[in-house]
Amino acid sequence: MSSIPDFLAKQLFIEKNVVTYRSLSRQFKIHVNVAKNELATYHATPQSSAEQSYATYIISGELFPRASSQPLSTEDDTQMDVDEPQEGQEDEPEVDSDLVPQVKITLVGEKDLEQAKTQYARIFSEHIYCLSPSPLVDSSLICAPSANIYKADAKLSPEQSILLGRVVGPDVKIGKVQPLPAASSKGKAPATTTVRKPGLAASASLSKVKEEPKAESIKAEKKADEVKPKDSKSPPVISKPKPSGKLDFSKAKAKAKEEKKTVKEEEPSEREKTEPIFKIGPPSRAKRETKGKSTASKKPVKRESSSSATSPSEPPPRRGTKRKSAMPIDSDSEQSAVTETPAPSGPSRSISPVPKSRGKAKTAAVKVKKGIVLSDDEDDEDEDNLKESKVSKSYGRKKTVIKEVDPSLSAMMDMDDDSVIKHPRRVTPPPPSDTEQTDEPDEDVAMEDDEDLPKPIPKKKKVKKAIPVGRNGLKKRRVVKSRMTTDAKGYIITEDYSEYESVDEEEPEEPKPKAKKPAARGKKSDSEEKSSKVSSKEKGGKSSAATKGSKSGTSSKVKKTMSGGLMDFFGKK
């Protein structure tokens, strides 16, 4: 305790701080009432003239019955409470109010202490509030030590703070607000969300597949459809069998998958340009944001085809897909998101899609052309692909995988062209009306997607679209936005679409190559059909070459994406 005077002297006259009883209490872990007395003791102790401290007091008590408001307000006129008199006069009419006991607590400097006391009919208590190196001219100066008090309080346990004088109620609890017993609370289906969490990783993916079907099963209507997807999924799972091997390939495969996905996604998006486009670039975001039904349907198809074609490669893609799906999980859109997201496995990978997409883009573009649906973007993509292919270095692994897959893939691709073309057109335009049905399909799709993920290898990726350049000379980047529309049935549908947005100079262009997810969602049946059709002949040859190119590009891009990942996340919206 002996150090208290020293502390006060230092605070007051060296650091020129205001010391309140509260800050003193926190500083020395003493009861606030003790602190008040310490302040009084220090103040009463004669000091040298150089060390003259000024005290500020708290008076509490009852004012004189009616005089209370009047004298105070007049005095305050000169001071700070200019508002009081005016309003008081205006609203004096609240005369019909019941009279209630009024306690007034006044903060007053020592010079005016006696005068302030004269207002009180009865004084309950009076104590020193703070010491200051000079008289307080503004009441808000007493808040100066607050920051330190908050810091100290944050470290105190409730028990300790009680010992310092805080009165803690028994009802004070930390935690989430709990709904009142009877009150209806908004319950969100936790099961699906938990399953999808990112942490689950590869092992979780299997469980996810299973769980998803369950969720879908809840929707009794399309159980049959669900069963089908499950079946398709199950085979790929089996094919995955080599976990260790998967790990090795997983990265490469995942990339390939991503590429494929991106390509697929890009294709639909391009086709549908007018309609919602999803960026694959940041997977987590894309997952969250992408509710596009069209994308889901398309993706699944592709994935399925890939999975069927490339059974060996499948396992790694799954992982990637799983992770992605897990990340995005948001209540409503989760399922759809899962299906969509699968392509980009990890956040870092998610970035990679762009490079991959280039290689794939070529294939995709070609396919698209055959299919008839051509988008403006295709040309751009092709160019990009070319560039990328030149750049590609590290494709070796991917190429091999792709080559193996190619034949089956090519078959898949053929299927796709027809189906794909139709789907995007159908699906995208009527997004609002589809909403009801879409939900179920989405789930199915999700299931399929998991299986499909492996596909990535065989598909050629589109090159990036030409990216518009902003006024500042930096390339614009794609941003996924969502818009709400109301469909014929009065349901509100949220669509995600991407747009170019100019980039701040400060920020690197990181985001550029976000793969757009296909926006068109098909019904389950559509998706299934697509999957079967997906295998394309074209893909076989082209895909291998494209993939090589894409790989090299991807690796470099991946790094970029990883570094930029967080920025993307915050910057997109």
């Binding site: 009861h31 009084a40 309003e87 009165v167 009877a182």
Partner: protein, 512 residues
């Protein structure tokens, strides 16, 4: 300065415990969920629903009141079916046709090259026309009696009178729906009833649960009251003052903040230029145009208080919330550390808060056994809190000398509607199938925030054997008055504690 030393209490003080209980099913909910978040409905539905729901009560009151009136008045179900010269009574919705009332059409037709006139403090004028309407049509009400009735748009009344030759309806008498039945008017009466009788005036028991009410903190206002707010915080945490203050503070079991915690955002002058810059809009807000400091400051104080007691925060007019009633809950994350406490609750703007004494587990147990509801209701209080917009709006309709804010507030109880002027001059959500502002039951405490001055009144209404009583409390804005209102949940007694800093200004500094 000789100051009596402040005693250190022997043992740490504790607060009485109160818990929230779930509202009975008939209590309206002000939360607008996703399903109802539609603005496509017409407001006419609110009036239709309101009339349908309240007509029965008004008719009942009218028949009871005018049963024995000479002339044997008949009830005419449709206002347009009234026959001339026939004494009868009609029921409908009051519409005040006021020339000075803001009118959207005027607003549109206005010459925008001329600055708009400032909003009026009062709408009323001698030219006002009181009309009564129902599904069939509208009839003008005339007569001194109806003119002095203090009516506002949207009230459902029954009017007894005769149609004059000019087609107006000369009103002889009128009735309202009357106060809604009250579910919980007793607070543990069995236990302490006797003591109360013995000691009527000083009936404060250490075990009584109090709640604290404050509104209009307006953190961030141009002339801040940070010092007073700091005092308030310290008082609530039980650290300020001597033992007597600390004792009274320790009986406060929870704090209700009735709106306007933050001052309206004053946009800085450079906000316009910054808006042009795309950079500032990238995150959906003008980052540089406002300071987050008020929010942080408020959050710090709330955290400080939240460590001591549960807090309920309502949004208010100046808070960053929607402007239409019911205002939805403020986002918890806005309040920083306080949001970590489950005992920190964000409420909708009008909000029913049901409080029971005892710990939460107790109440939950009681509530769980639905059959034992009687037990629970014995120690239960229903609070209706709003941030003052309905009353402020109604106040514009009526002349102040005869009518006061308290009298209008008590009228709303008799009207059985807390915000009749919505949606006429008070913005509200376009409800389609319900009117949540109707009193399904009379609350024990009717708390109205952000009023210019403190006021309280006990309103009682005796109907048959049921007596409904309700304490109205007008909570003044803290920034203007520095007043905190304390209510004893058992006795419904009220007291105020006001905080002020005195003589802090030029005078002192000049002396030195």
């Amino acid at each position: 300065m000789p100051t009596a030393t402040t005693m250190v209490p022997d043992a740490p003080k504790t607060r009485p415990s109160t818990s929230l209980v779930a509202p009975p099913n008939k209590t309206p909910q002000f939360t607008i969920d996703a399903q109802n978040k539609s603005y496509k409905h017409q407001y006419a539905n609110i009036y239709f629903v309101r009339l349908r729901l309240l007509r029965g009560f008004v008719e009942e009151q009218a028949k009871k009141k005018w049963n024995e009136v000479a002339g044997n008045p008949t009830f005419v179900p449709r206002v347009l079916d009234v026959e001339k010269g026939q004494l009868c009574f009609i029921i409908g919705t009051v519409y005040m046709d006021m020339p000075l009332k803001p009118n959207v059409l005027d607003d549109i037709a206005r010459d925008h090259s001329i600055p708009a006139p400032p909003p009026r403090k009062k709408f009323n004028s001698p030219d006002d026309i009181i009309t009564l309407e129902d599904e069939s049509g509208r009839v003008c009400l005339v007569g001194d009696r109806i003119r002095s009735a203090g009516l506002v748009t949207g009230v459902i009344i029954g009017a007894l009178g005769i149609e004059t030759n000019s087609g107006d309806f000369e009103v002889v008498d009128y009735v309202f729906a009357g106060m809604a039945p009250q579910v919980s008017s007793e607070w543990d009466s069995s236990k302490r009833g006797e003591e109360m009788d013995i000691d009527e005036s000083g009936d404060e028991f250490p075990s009584d649960e109090w709640i604290a009410l404050v509104s209009g903190l307006e953190v961030g206002a141009p002339s801040p009251t940070d010092g007073e707010l700091e005092l308030l915080t310290e008082f609530l945490t039980g650290e300020l003052g001597g033992l007597s203050e600390q004792n009274s503070a320790s009986r406060i079991s929870r704090l209700i903040i009735a709106g306007n915690s933050l001052a309206p955002v004053v946009s800085t002058s450079n906000s316009v230029t910054e808006e042009v810059d795309r950079k500032t809009r990238r995150y959906g807000q003008e980052s540089a145009a406002f300071s987050p400091h008020p929010t942080i400051n408020l959050g710090d104080h709330l955290l400080d208080i939240a460590r001591s007691m549960p807090i309920h925060v309502l949004p208010g007019e100046s808070d960053p919330s929607g402007t239409i009633l019911p205002q939805q809950t403020l986002p918890r994350a806005m309040f920083g550390g306080a949001s970590a406490y489950s005992s920190f609750r964000c409420e909708t703007n009008p909000a029913y808060i049901h409080i029971a004494s005892g710990s939460a587990s107790n109440a939950a147990a009681k509530n769980g056994a639905s059959s034992s509801k009687v037990d629970a209701s014995e120690r239960r209080r229903t609070l209706l809190v709003n941030s003052g917009q309905p009353l402020n709006d109604m106040f514009k309709y009526l002349d102040s000398p005869p009518h006061t804010r308290l009298s209008i507030a008590s009228s709303t109880l008799h009207w059985r509607h807390m915000a009749p002027t919505a949606p006429d001059t008070l913005w509200c959500h376009p409800y389609f199938t319900t009117d949540p502002f109707i009193f399904a039951e009379t609350p024990d405490l009717y708390i109205i925030g952000n009023q210019p001055a403190f006021g309280t009144k006990m309103v009682t209404d005796k109907q048959d054997e049921d007596e409904a009583r309700c304490r109205i409390i007008l909570v003044p804005g803290f920034r203007q008055t520095g007043t905190l209102v304390l209510v004893n949940l058992r006795t419904l007694d009220v007291k105020t504690v006001s905080f002020a800093a005195q003589s802090m200004g030029g005078a002192l500094s000049s002396d030195v």
